[in-house]
Amino acid sequence: MKQYLNTVTSEWFNKRVMGAILCVVVAFSILFMRLFYLQIIKGEEFLRLSENNSIRLESIVAPRGLIFDAEGNLLVDNRPSFDLRIIPRNAKPLEQTLKKLARYTNIPEEDMMEEIRACNGMSSYKPVLLKQDIGRDAMAAIEVHRFDLPGVVMNIRPVRHYINGQHAAHLIGYLGEINAKELQRGAFEGCKSGDFIGRFGVEKTYEDLLRGKRGGRQVEVDVRGQVVKALRTVSAIPGRNLYLSLDYALQKKVEELLQDRVGAVVAMDPMTGYTLVMASSPTFDQNAFVSGMTRKEWKVLTSNPEYPMTNRVIQAEYPPASTYKIVTAIAGLEEGAIDSKTTHYCPGYYGMGNRVFRCWKRGGHGDVNVVRAIAESCDVFFYKVGEEVGVDKLAFYARMCGLGARTGINLENEGRGLIPTSEWKKKRIGESWQKGETLNVSIGQGFNLTTPLQMLVLTAAIANNGTLYQPQIVRRLETADGIEVKNIEPKVTGNLTLNPQTMDIVKKGLWEAVNTKKGTARGIKLDAYPISGKTGTAQLVTTKEPKRGETEKNDSLFNQNLPHAWFVAYAPSEAPRIAVAIIVEHGEHGSTAAAPIAKEVIKMYMEKQEEKKWLADAGDGKDMPE
């Protein structure tokens, strides 16, 4: 009943429709008034503005963050690149303008015409890029004749400048122009076509922080396209400055030592994981990428058989060779296969079934215990240990030492390496594991593969009594005004859970390798800073035979048959400050090709630390009241 009484009628609705129509008319009146205002009252003004297309948007490029080394030495900054553009429609008469431009800049007139034609814009309002980075002199000449050159626009754009050319190129990396796909994906916030983004190294992994944020301004321009006034401006925010953990002086020294050789050197503070040196040879010139690289240049670089674009420290995987005996020793001691007193007799070979496995020392080592076996790198001793422990337990300890997995360094394309197990072989190759292969694995040959960085992390863990650190390449990030935004703390990725005796025995072996008369690395003994280390000589399974007709005179082919030289070390032995891993491809012997580099690095670093300490003490002394 109540429902019925309240039911609405069409007449009731009619009244409300009338109200609605009234509202609509009012709303439309406002639109009409606005239209009248814009088109009739302000029309003339807008017409003028539109005739010159005079309100433009200019973007303000954000300078990319600078890169320093740990001591604040500037490694990478930005320099201005003067880019020459022309607005064809404003540049009337075009031919004459181009002729003049050609005279001032030495850019052939035909080339410029080509660019304009390629952009399909003989009468376009869109600026056409004539040439990037025309240089300061050409820029000055154009500025002087500005009024003679209608439609010519000069853009100043900061570009990357790698102050020290090729040094630490793999670590720092380089930039490349953003491509259409990346733009569409929108992963690089605020990027426009023509922008450069990090393509390699730290430039790539820290791209988001280094890039900064583009600003811009609305400007009013006159008929010639010259800015009359800026209407509104949003300033750019420069990218973050980045402080590497790298010691540039040390890096430079290392790269000199590596010159003309193929290999890698990496060093870190074993107590924190901060990387001090990261060098890969051969290297490349990052400045060649700054203004874009031609297809030909790129091809030359990438088809080089020595792969200069590979960061060998993290990307190259080598058999660890005798440096792996650290792992075998740990496995043997922890599994009870040996103890500090166990001796094995080495006659220079080890027979298993009908196969003979040789020790590198033909005459044999005689009776050796584990410490001597490490120091003198006795293969037979470790064959026996490996045989007893077995491949799967060896793999367990290798993994505990961080091998076979990425270290987690903040760089792209890090290699994983390979630590074989019987299951892995079954799955991968489809065959069951052979006992003889265990012997090869236990001296770091066979299927084993590690990167220099993995070996470094392991060596550092021995040095610091068992902590695996993630290698860090950046110490901190700051704003352009020097306000710290991020401090990168050491990060522990694992621990060697070992008996204290095991660690002591391994350390003793490493110490003796350098500091006793029979040690494999005795040649690099330093009295001031005792070094502990392990050499390695990685036999190459597939050696390339020189082709018929070629003699051994052909150096590079001859060299390809030589084994790779390894050396891992830390110093000073008692209170380590630096750990190093070195590989020299086809360097033949770890003791002669790799170890001397370690010595130089350690010596230089330690002397520098000493000097710093001395200076700091002297500074303290000055403040002391007499």
Binding site: Q3, N6, T7, V8, S10, W12, F13, N14, R16, V17, M18, A20, I21, V24, V25, A27, F28, I30, L31, F32, R34, L35, F36, L38, Q39, I40, K42, G43, E44, E45, F46, L47, L49, S50, E51, N53, I55, L57, S59, N120, G121, S124, Y125, K126, G186, G215, G216, R217, Q218, L231, R232, T233, V234
Partner: protein, 369 residues
């Protein structure tokens, strides 16, 4: 039941003519927008739009062939289907420019949020026609419509497509005001809104506040929305009294306008046809809306009346928001200009709206006493 000859007799030829003329104006403006620019690839858009118009006309005819009373019966299914599509678009939709609005169906992409507007109108019309009374709706009576509006609203905000979400909210609010709210309830709702505003603001994150402030005042973003509005205003203003002539607009030709074929098509039109052209278009829209409301008034069936009001409201809000935006009166949101802007889903939806209005208009005799 045989064919009722009165269906032809009462057919609303005027409205149909209006729709066709608006469509033609849209095509002319679009032609200019896509040919004058430097980007040749855009020319295909004109052909595409022609095809969409064809599809739209078919949809329009389809929607006046059966009685709109069926829409009342099918309201739940239409609404449910739209909500389902909105969920699907959130899960599997194509991501473009940071938002997920499109569903790929073979070679074409459709925007479910467009048709969701109509679904909300239909379901609200059914609810309100059932419970409308002269005292107006109390808060209890509004719970249902609030939920029915909130579900698609939230799903569309999630995409995010703030423009369309806002339009849905405005349509629902307008329809609700049309069927009347109890005075006391209205006061409560208004005061709640006024009080809760600052509370919500307080809990928003910094960047969210920035986004809302920029939304309300494009001048805060001189490199983005603010710049677009300036260029749009220059475009409209430079049209002056008689316009610069077909295909002669320079703002348009230089691609100074963003989205010149979709959201900013009115600037192209106003630049080329001037105050005379632009006012004719405005008048035609006004005429359309008044016509739609007149259909609502002439309908003797509550569902039909409220449905017609809802449909007309949809067109009204899109016209007000779009033209208001390009003239710098409204926030910058992606809302299309009905019948004019480029876009398949938008055109087809608008033609369906026109079909429903024609439907209600030609069947007005059926409920006469």
């Amino acid at each position: 039941m045989g064919f009722d000859r009165r269906l032809v007799q009462y057919f609303d030829w005027g409205l149909m003519l209006l729709v066709i003329v608006l469509g033609a104006i849209g095509l002319v403006a679009l032609y200019s927008a896509v040919t004058a620019g430097a980007d040749i690839a855009q020319k295909i858009l004109f052909t595409k739009q022609l095809i969409w118009y064809g599809a739209g006309l078919a949809a329009m005819v389809f929607f006046f062939l059966f009685s709109y009373k069926s829409l009342e019966k099918w309201a739940d299914i239409i609404y449910g289907g739209c909500v389902f599509l909105l969920v699907v678009v959130l899960l599997f939709g194509k991501v473009t420019g940071g938002s997920q609005r499109w569903l790929l169906v073979g070679p074409i992409s459709v925007q479910p949020s467009e048709i969701a507007k109509v679904a909300v109108i239909i379901i609200l019309a059914r609810y309100y026609s059932k419970y409308a009374n002269e005292r107006g709706f109390s808060f209890r009576g509004l719970i249902n419509p609030i939920i029915l509006t909130a579900i698609p609203f939230v799903l569309i905000v999630k995409q995010p497509d703030l423009g369309t979400a806002m339009v849905i909210l405005l349509i629902a609010a307008t329809m609700t005001l049309f069927v009347k709210i109890e005075r006391r309830t209205l006061i409560y709702i208004l005061s709640f809104g006024i009080l809760s505003g600052p509370m919500v603001w307080y809990f928003l994150k910094g960047y969210q506040k920035q986004r809302i402030l920029t939304f309300l005042n494009p001048d805060r973003d001189p490199l983005g929305a603010g710049y677009h509005i300036i260029q749009s205003k220059i475009g409209i203003g430079s049209g002056y009294i008689s316009g610069r002539g077909f295909l002669k607009g320079t703002q348009n030709a230089l691609s100074f306008l963003p989205e010149q074929h979709t959201d900013f098509i009115f600037s192209v039109l106003a630049e080329e046809w001037g105050f005379m052209g632009a006012s004719v278009l405005l008048l035609m829209f006004l005429f359309f809306i008044v016509w739609g409301l007149n259909i609502a008034a002439n309908c003797r069936d509550n569902f039909g009346t409220i449905l017609a009001v809802g449909i007309t409201t949809l067109i009204m809000w899109q016209v007000l928001i779009n033209i208001g935006m390009v003239m710098g009166l409204m926030p910058v949101v992606g809302v299309t200009l009905p019948f004019i802007s480029y876009g398949g889903s938008s055109i087809v939806t608008m033609m369906i709206c026109a079909g429903i209005l024609l439907n209600i208009s030609m069947r007005r005799f059926q409920f006469e006493k």
